[in-house]
């Protein structure tokens, strides 16, 4: 007997109700509501105090998270499961953004004036580096509860140095530099409530930023007040900090620097380290084992970021005002600039995808993100963004020194 018989009409209704319910239930559990975070990232919108959560492929906006305060010079690290982004704002705000829900999962105002942060090798400690009141602060990555403070206040002068160049090292250690005091400190946070600090004094005048190599062995501080960089080999801490690329300016008058360069682990490409010169329109190239100068590449302006593609085959460079409408691409084997791009006004930051098929550029003054295909060096996508600055992809979660 077919269901079309009048006798079965109520049964038919019930059947359709059941199937509708089944569809609804299936809808709730459908795989499309699940998502990995490996292809996500966050973009800082500095003027509006918001961050975009984006997908890398296809490049698009997933969510906009508001209420993060003053994000001028904000930076980001990721939780080890790459679900959460810790955003360090200039106003001392430390915000934890849930990439999957697109919401704030926590926020503390931890200082008056902050510049960035790092996450420990075990992923349990988030550390913020501060300008005001100076020093660094350690927080529980889960709850953002404070764990410890490391003061950089000099007991004699009473002056607290601004902290720059904070980077994580293996074994829950952190390295950072003191701008006024000219020191490098390494903090061992094996006991996160009682970090133990080793100080290296007299490393040079005005360290402005620092980096840890991606194997966590070397810590490098760029010096604004001297022609050279300070290097600590953490495998041989007993040898102390030594100067590398000393006197690269040859005593010549420096060109004015309209924006401080940035250093991070992406400066390394195979056997080389690519480092922005200060006050010279050059990228310095050092051997990443002997730290001797190998060459220097003349570029268009004062370099801000010199970033190696994940393959190490090419290095991309952006520039300080008034040259910040330009990006240059250096070919590593020939050490030549092979392409000069004009992707937009106010190019503040660049971020490669994990395997380097694309690079995202933030154009602050054109209110857009420009995605460039690294194979063709052509723009492939343009996305709207409000005064974008830093772009951070989740591959950083698994990388030391990032």
């Amino acid at each position: 007997m077919k269901l079309g018989h009048p006798y079965f009409a109520p049964l038919r209704l019930l059947a359709s109700a059941v199937s509708m319910l089944a569809v609804l239930l299936a809808g709730c559990a459908t795989p499309s509501t699940l998502r990995g975070t490996g292809d996500l990232g966050v973009v800082i919108e500095r003027a509006s105090g918001t961050v975009q959560v984006v997908t890398q492929q296809p490049p698009r906006l997933l969510a906009r998270v508001e209420g993060l305060g003053d994000l001028s010079h904000a930076s980001v690290v990721f939780s080890r499961d790459a679900r959460y982004a810790f955003v360090f704002g200039r106003d001392g705000g430390l915000s934890k953004v849930d990439l999957l829900t697109g919401r704030l999962a926590g926020r503390v105002l931890q200082a008056g004036n902050s510049i960035g942060g790092a996450i420990s090798s075990d992923g349990r400690i988030v550390v913020a580096q501060n300008y005001e009141p100076g020093g660094v602060r350690l927080f529980d990555a889960e709850t953002l509860a404070p764990l410890a403070d490391i003061s950089t206040r000099d007991p004699v002068s009473g002056l607290a140095s601004k902290v720059v160049g904070l980077a994580d090292l293996p074994g829950n250690r952190f390295a950072f530099s003191l701008f006024e005091a000219g020191e490098i400190w390494v903090a061992d946070a094996t006991d996160p409530r009682h970090p133990v600090v080793t100080r290296y004094a007299g490393v040079g005048r005005n360290p402005y930023d620092g980096l840890a190599s991606s194997d966590g062995r070397y810590y490098l501080a760029g010096l604004y007040g001297e022609d050279g960089l300070a290097l600590l080999d953490t495998w041989h801490p007993e040898t102390g900090v030594r100067r590398i690329l000393d006197g690269y300016g040859h005593g010549e008058e420096k060109l004015p620097v309209y924006k401080m360069p940035h250093l991070r682990g992406w400066a390394m490409a195979g056997e080389y380290a690519f480092l922005p010169a200060i006050g010279r329109h050059e990228v310095l190239v050092a051997d990443s084992r002997t730290w001797q100068e190998r060459t220097r590449v003349p570029v268009y302006g004062q370099p801000v970021f010199a970033m190696a593609e994940p393959s190490g085959r090419r290095v991309w460079v952006n520039f300080a005002f008034p040259h910040n409408d330009t990006v240059q691409v250096i070919d590593v084997p020939t050490m030549q600039v092979v392409r000069t791009l004009k992707p937009g006004r106010g190019i503040l930051h660049m971020e490669f995808t994990g395997r380097g098929d694309a690079v995202w550029l933030s154009s602050r003054d054109d209110d857009r993100l420009v995605v460039v295909d690294t194979r063709t060096l052509e723009m492939s996508t343009v996305l709207p963004a409000r005064n974008p600055s830093g772009i951070f992809f989740t591959w950083r979660a698994a990388r030391m020194g990032m």
Partner: protein, 115 residues
């Protein structure tokens, strides 16, 4: 009487013409100004802000809030903007700003840099 009326009309026309020439000149000068106010403020907030902070509360560069500037005379601030501070990271902005523009920047910062 008629003569006086005619004369005053003539004078009025002359005055009006002269005034419009002055206004036109001012308008042309304003249009030719190297850095309009909106662009100047954008430059200060974004490019000075990269060291001094977008809200001018300081960074590697010193704070530029009204309270931080209160005991510093206009002339010395203008000189710092135009020629930088040797021995520090403060660069000279003379290639990009005129003395008048530097003074406008100082006055704007003293007001708390309103939008």
């Amino acid at each position: 009487m008629l003569y006086l009326l005619a004369r005053s009309v003539w004078v009025r026309c002359l005055v009006l013409t002269a005034a419009s020439i002055v206004f036109l000149t001012m308008a042309v000068e304003a249009a030719a100004a190297p850095v309009p106010e909106v662009r100047l403020r954008h430059l200060v907030r974004q490019d000075c802000g990269s060291c001094h902070g977008l809200t001018f509360r300081g960074g590697l560069g010193s704070p530029l809030t009204p309270a931080a500037l209160v005991d510093k005379p206009d002339e010395s601030l203008v000189a710092t903007i135009l020629d930088g501070r040797p021995g520090t990271a403060m660069p000279p902005w003379r290639p990009f700003l005129s003395p008048d523009e530097a003074l406008a920047v100082v006055r704007w910062l003293r007001e708390g840099a309103p939008e």
